[in-house]
């Protein structure tokens, strides 16, 4: 149990360090870094590597945005098994639906209630 937390911390932290290096050394904008990470997650999952990382690091791999790319591909592949090519389109948002839906909902509600502080 303790080791689960330890590896979540280390792996999650290291993924963020890669992001920080992309920002500071390669001078990418945050939008470029996030986009690259999502693509990286999808590509790693294409080689079945991301699941291994999740097994090892738990939330250290599922919380960073890389897991978004991984989940998109997972959903797509699950439906592709059943429906062929069209399944990719059917399944692509299946696993990420909760994340996107809640981000829209909470973002919207917060925008209604709060005022920007500046």
């Amino acid at each position: 149990m303790f080791m689960d937390f330890f590896w979540a911390f280390v792996v999650g932290g290291l993924i963020c360090v890669i992001g920080q290096i992309l920002l500071d050394v390669f001078k990418l904008t945050p939008a470029h870094v996030m986009s690259s990470f999502v693509v990286a997650g999808a590509v790693l999952d294409g080689f079945n590597l991301y699941d291994k990382l999740i097994e090892f690091a738990g939330a250290g791999a599922t919380v960073p945005i890389t897991s978004f790319g991984h989940s998109l591909l997972h959903g797509a592949m699950a439906q592709a098994e059943e429906h062929g090519f069209i399944g990719i389109a059917i399944g692509i948002f299946q696993l990420t639906s909760a994340g996107i839906a809640s981000a829209i909902l909470f973002g919207f509600l917060v925008a209604l209630i709060f005022k920007p502080k500046g």
Binding site: M1, D4, F5, A8, F9, G12, G13, L14, I15, C16, V17, G19, Q20, I21, L22, L23, D24, V25, P30, A31, M34, S35, F37, V38, V39, A42, G46, A57, A59, G60, T62, V63, P64, I65, S67, F68, L72, A76, M77, G84, F85, I88, I92, T96, A98, G99, S102, A103, I104, F106, G107, F108, L109, V110, A111, L112, F114, K115, P116, G118
Partner: protein, 148 residues
């Protein structure tokens, strides 16, 4: 002698460099801690609410997004971001912050044209590139599975 041609090179010494090690350390700690919170949430959902290791992912992510949206509303997340850099941007909470902050900032232009229209101004690229890359990788994998 500073000239137009060598300007960028000559003035390097006056431009403060990003403190790479310090920034990376802060990103590591804050990013790591957000993942630890995620881990704790997922353990909670498994132990107390009967989720499985796989199905606990959704409520965990949803809870993190809620926390991030609230911290954005209270004006805390932008300060965390200045401190932690990629440490608070890379986790899914950063994704939620980019959506919430854009929605909140454009509230003054109304709910439809302001909040709703601008919500994905920053987060849109993540969804676009995620979808395109997952589509491409998915097609390749599907083809490989079918024909090899």
């Amino acid at each position: 002698m500073i000239t137009k041609e060598n300007y960028a090179k000559e003035i390097k010494k006056y431009q403060p460099k990003p403190k790479l090690f310090k920034n990376c350390l802060k990103a590591f700690i804050v990013g790591g801690l957000i993942c630890v919170v995620g881990q704790a949430l997922s353990v909670m959902y498994i132990e107390l609410f009967g989720f499985t290791e796989k199905s606990a992912g959704n409520p965990t992510v949803t809870t993190l997004i809620l926390i991030s949206a609230l911290l954005t509303g209270f004006g805390v997340y932008d300060r965390l971001g200045q401190f932690a850099g990629a440490g608070s941007a890379v986790p899914v909470t950063g994704f939620a912050n980019s959506i919430t902050s854009a929605a909140l900032e454009h509230k003054s232009e109304g709910i439809v044209l302001g909040v709703a229209t601008n919500m994905f101004k920053l987060a849109g690229s993540v969804i676009v590139f995620g979808t395109i890359s997952a589509y491409l990788v998915g097609m390749i994998r599907y083809l490989v599975q079918q024909f090899l």
